[in-house]
Symmetry: C2
């Protein structure tokens, strides 16, 4: 899998609406699907091949939250090289198709909007849509996320007290 | 933690707008936060106490996807006893506050809307808002999910072929 170098990292100023990023791939197997489900989503259609057949999912499928978590790993490691990392305040999520054992997932992201913060010049919000597809090019997840992005390398790290006072959510509402 | 008995399970007909459900609690510790992050969200603010201090999260915090996964576990085990299980087609997600090591999480859910399917009388969609709070009563996640719910116990399990033909997403769009 490709990985980012530090000097590839992007600040809000480096982003453009319509810009796209494509991640590496991640293969999810049956044991991973069941292990995630045992820990976080212990339902028959994620745990038991036989029991899964006569359910809404028509066979064993990954928990949607597992698909979301794999998507995050792909974004962090190879999907979108944001300076300061990928910090989401929230977003919208859909799972149009299930993730099956053996699926190879890949994430394509597109910048939909860029909003500098009026009250905090050191950051802004990027709205990014990330489509997670399997090897058959079917979309297994559509995530439209609000990401908090640093404005420029000169601003350095945000001050702890400043963030603690305002709160991430608060600063987003002001945008 | 309380757990459901099979005869507590609810069908679409049993749900009412405004109906509320409260889950048991789940305590998340530092090692769990780091283990999830190593697997799915390997960023400094989820992995390293020192490095996390000067970041947007002002200290070690769980990945938002970890908070989402714990919320799912609470919903499945004690949060909302739906017949056929909890199957989400998607929804909206916000993380207004971070989940910290030692936090005890609990989920309160409210039925916002109920939509029988026009084309498929055996199912419908329930729109459910689930607020995940910590022991200080701060909301760490707000999830508004579209859940696919069976209509009545008489309908039994859905037929595999029927579901395979239509697809979950398709049947939702028809609602």
């Amino acid at each position: 899998m490709k990985e980012f170098r530090d000097d590839d990292r992007l600040y809000l100023d480096d982003l453009q609406i319509g810009q796209r990023f494509t991640s590496g791939t991640y293969v999810v197997d049956e044991e991973q699907i069941k292990a995630f489900a045992r820990q976080f989503d212990p339902q028959p259609f994620h745990l038991d091949n036989e029991a899964a057949k006569n359910t809404l999912l028509s066979g064993l499928a990954a928990s949607g939250w597992h698909t979301a978590a794999i998507t995050m790993r792909l974004l962090v490691e190879s999907g979108m090289p944001l300076a300061g990392g990928i910090v989401g305040a929230g977003g919208e999520l859909d799972w149009p198709n299930p993730t099956r054992p053996g699926d190879s997932l890949q994430v394509e992201s597109e910048v939909l909007d860029i909003r500098p913060s009026r009250s905090r010049p050191d950051r802004g919000v990027a709205v990014v849509r990330s489509l997670t597809r399997n090897q058959r090019n079917e979309v297994v997840q559509c995530l439209t996320a609000k990401l908090i992005v640093h404005v420029a390398s000169e601003s350095g790290e945000l001050h702890v007290a400043e963030v603690r006072d305002a709160g991430t959510a608060q600063s987003l509402r002001e945008n």
